[in-house]
Symmetry: C2
Subunit: 418 residues, 2 copies
C-alpha cells in the first residue's frame, strides 16, 4: 500500500465513525474520557518508556536541553495530562445546544443547533501533552480526530494515542475515533491535505513553513494557529506605573508564548518620562531591547531595531520599542506590522480607549490589561484547542464551541412555499 | 501590466479601504446605499443599454431563450434591484454588536464584538442582480468586495458596479470599496486565489467545476455555495395527504433552485398507498420520475433510476424516487448520496421526528415542511448572500451576520497574569 492509500484508509475509517460519534450522549462521552484519564495513570510506565525512546533519539540528534526538557514526560506531567482530561469532562457538552429558535409568520419554527464538525485533522509541532488535549477536546465535542504530531515526539504521541484508543474500546466505542497519521512519511501530510471528501477541517499549529505548506496545498478548510506579534501602546494619558507593570508582565511572564509582547509603542509626549523607567525594569528582568532612533536618543543602552524587527515574533526575552507621534501612528503601526493576534492600550482617557477598541482589527483588543490574558482558560472558555489567527469560524482562543458548527432545524405542520 | 499585477493592484486597493470601512457609521453606510438605489433608478437607461450588449452577444453565441430571459434587465427588474438595496438599508447593522460580555474572577471583562471580515471576493455565475445584492450586503456589513461575475453578463455587471461606485464617491466614500475583477481574463481568477495577503475570504457560487477550481487553487479561506441534493422522507407514520402536498411543492414550486427536492424516499409500509397518488400528482405537474425497482413495480410509468441518479442535482422537473425498508435505510441513503444541504421528513411520530433531527447532518434538517423554505428570507434573516454548503463559519443561508467575524474585547484596570 502506498502512502496515499494508507492515508486514505485512515481518513475513510475516521469519516465512517462520524455517524457513531454524532449519536453518543454526553454520559457515554464522559465515561470514555474518564477511562482515558484512568489509563493514562495506570499505563504511566508504558508512556514513559516510549517517551524515553524520543528523548534518546533527540539527544543523538543534538536537540537543545530546552527542547529535550519540553519533550520529557515526567510522572508529574503524566498526572497533569490525566487531570486535564478530567477537567474537560467537567465542561458543558456543546453538542445539541439550540442557540436560538424563533417562529415565522407562517407558524414554522426555525432554530440553530450545535453539531460536531465531523473529522478534524490537527497538525502540530508541540509537546506530547497536546496529543491528549486535542484528542479529548475533539472527542468531547463529538468529533473524530486525525493527529499528526512532530517527529521528535513520535513514540510518545503513538503511545498516548494507543492509550486513548484502548480506553475507547474498553467503553464500546470504536478505536478509529482517534487516529494517528504517523510521523515518518513526509508525504502523508501532503496526501491528507487533499482528502476533502473525508476531512472537514484541518488545524495547523506551528511555524511559518508548516502553516504555509498547509495553506498552499489544502483543499480542506483550514483554521490556522499562527504567530502573535503583540503590541502594547502606552498612550500619553497612560497611568505610567501601570504601563510599566503590564509591559514587564506581557514580555517576561512567559516569553515563549504567542500572546507575549513583542513590540512596545510609546506616545512621544510621555517617552522621555516612561522609557528610562521601563528600560531599567526590562534590563533587570533580562530583556534585550531593540529600538527606533528616538528611543535610543533617550535610552542609549537600547540597540538599533531594523525594519524586520517590527514584524518579528521573538518568542524570547527580546523586545522592540518604538516612539510614535500620536494615536493614529500607533494604530497604523499595528495595522502594518502586527499579526492581528492580541494588542493592548494603556490609557486613562475614555475616548482614546474607545477608539482603540473600534479601530484595531485583532483577534483580541485590550484596554489596561496584559496581552498574556489572551487564552481560553483566562477568558473563561474552559479549555482551548489553540488560538486561531484566522477570521473565519473561530478567531482568537478556540474552545469546545468552536469545534462545533450549527445546523438549521425547522419544525412545521405542513407549510408549503408560495 | 500582466494579469497578476492587475489583480494585485485591485486587491491591494481593496485592502487599503478596510480601515475606512471599519470606521463608517451605520448612518453613513445607509446614506451610500440609498444613493445606490437612487442612481440605479436614475441611470436605468444606461444599465439597459449595457445589458443589451450582453443580450446581443448571448444571442450570437446561441444562448437558450431561458438563459437570455434570466440575463435580461427589464425596467421591472431594475426597480426590484433598487428596492432590494432599500430593504438591505432597513436591516440592522451587525457591526459593533457585542454578542456577549462577562466578568472574570480578577475583575477583567471579556466580550465578543462583531466586526467586518475585511475583503470578500465573490465569484458567481448568476443573474446580474446578484452583483448589486452582493455588493450591498458586503457594504452594509462593513466589508470591501471584489466581484467576478459570469462572462455572459460582463457588460451588465460592469455597468452596475460603476453605478455603485459613483454613488460611493458622491457620498465621499472611496470607489474602491467595490471592485470588479473583470471577466475577460481567465487567469484573473487563478491570480486572485493566491492573494491571501489581501483577501480575507472567497465565496464561489456556481457549478462543480467552478467550485472545484476554487477549492484546489485557493490559499484564501473559502465558503462554498454548492449543490443541493435535497431529500423528502415519507415515514410510515406520515400524514400522506401532507406528504403529497409537500413533495409537489418542494419539487415543482421552483425546480431550478438548490433547495428544490431531488429525491423522494418512501417507507415501504406506505409505498403501495402513497406512490400511485404522488406519481399521479407529479405527472400532472409535468414531472419526469426515475425510480428504484420497487417503485416501478408499484408505478410502472416510472422510468428506471441509475446509481448516478441518487447523487444528481437535476434543477429541473425530474425526481428520483426510492422505497426504503425503514427509517435507518432512509437516513443511510441521505448520508451516502445527499449533499448535506436540506432534508425533510414527513411524519406524525414524535420519536421518529426527533431521531431524524438528531441523526441527519445537513445544513437544514426539517420536519413536516417543504425543503423550499431553506432560504435566508424565509428563515427571517432578512437577506442572504447565498446558501453555504460548508460547515465552517457559515452553514446554510448566510445573512449579514455571517459576513462578519467576532473579535474578543478585554477591559481591565491593570490586571497582570500570574
Amino acid at each position: 500500500m502506498d502512502c496515499n492509500q494508507q492515508v486514505s484508509a485512515i481518513v475513510q475509517q475516521a469519516k465512517a465513525c462520524c455517524v457513531v460519534m454524532r449519536q453518543l450522549g454526553s454520559a457515554t462521552k464522559s465515561g470514555v474520557l474518564l477511562e482515558v484519564a484512568r489509563q493514562i495513570r495506570s499505563r504511566g510506565d508504558f508512556i514513559q518508556q516510549e517517551n524515553r525512546k524520543d528523548l534518546e533519539f533527540g539527544r543523538s540528534k543534538g536537540l537543545s536541553p530546552a527542547l529535550l526538557e519540553r519533550l520529557e514526560l515526567t510522572p508529574k506531567r503524566i498526572e497533569e495530562m490525566a487531570t486535564g482530561v478530567e477537567e474537560i469532562v467537567a465542561l458543558p457538552d456543546p453538542v445539541g445546544e439550540v442557540t436560538r429558535m424563533w417562529r415565522r409568520p407562517n407558524g414554522m419554527q426555525v432554530g440553530r443547533m450545535r453539531v460536531p464538525l465531523g473529522v478534524i485533522a490537527i497538525i502540530y509541532e508541540s509537546r506530547p501533552n497536546v496529543t491528549i488535549d486535542a484528542a479529548s477536546l475533539c472527542f468531547k465535542s463529538g468529533n473524530v480526530s486525525v493527529l499528526r504530531g512532530g517527529s521528535e515526539a513520535a513514540h510518545s504521541n503513538e503511545a498516548l494515542i494507543s492509550v486513548f484508543r484502548r480506553a475507547c474500546v474498553a467503553k464500546g466505542v470504536p478505536a478509529e475515533v482517534v487516529s494517528s497519521l504517523g510521523t515518518t512519511e513526509r508525504d502523508a501530510v501532503q496526501a491528507l491535505l487533499k482528502m476533502d471528501a473525508y476531512v472537514d477541517v484541518v488545524i495547523p499549529r506551528g511555524g511559518k513553513s508548516l502553516i504555509r505548506n498547509v495553506m498552499e496545498n489544502s483543499t480542506i478548510p483550514v483554521i490556522k494557529h499562527y504567530e502573535g506579534i503583540c503590541h502594547l501602546f502606552v498612550d500619553r494619558a497612560a497611568d505610567l506605573e501601570m504601563a510599566l507593570r503590564l509591559t514587564v508582565n506581557a514580555k517576561v511572564q512567559r516569553p515563549g508564548t504567542c500572546n507575549a509582547l513583542e513590540t512596545l509603542l510609546v506616545h512621544r509626549e510621555v517617552a522621555a518620562e516612561f522609557l528610562p523607567k521601563v528600560c531599567d525594569a526590562l534590563t533587570q528582568a533580562g530583556v534585550q531591547m531593540l529600538g527606533c532612533e528616538e528611543t535610543r536618543s533617550i535610552c542609549p543602552q537600547v540597540k538599533s531595531a531594523t525594519e524586520e524587527d517590527w514584524s518579528t515574533e521573538y518568542l524570547d526575552l527580546i523586545l522592540s520599542i518604538r516612539v510614535v507621534r500620536d494615536f493614529d501612528e500607533a494604530v497604523a503601526h499595528i495595522e502594518k506590522y502586527g499579526s492581528h493576534h492580541t494588542d493592548t492600550i494603556v490609557t486613562r482617557d475614555w475616548e482614546t480607549a474607545h477608539r482603540f477598541v473600534q479601530q484595531v482589527d485583532s483577534s483580541s483588543v485590550m484596554v489596561n490589561v496584559s496581552t498574556r490574558f489572551s487564552d481560553g482558560f483566562q477568558y473563561g472558555l474552559g479549555a482551548e484547542i489553540g488560538i486561531s489567527t484566522d477570521k473565519l469560524h473561530a478567531r482568537g482562543p478556540m474552545g469546545l464551541e468552536e469545534l462545533t458548527t450549527q445546523k438549521f432545524i425547522v419544525f412545521g405542520n405542513g407549510q408549503e412555499r408560495t
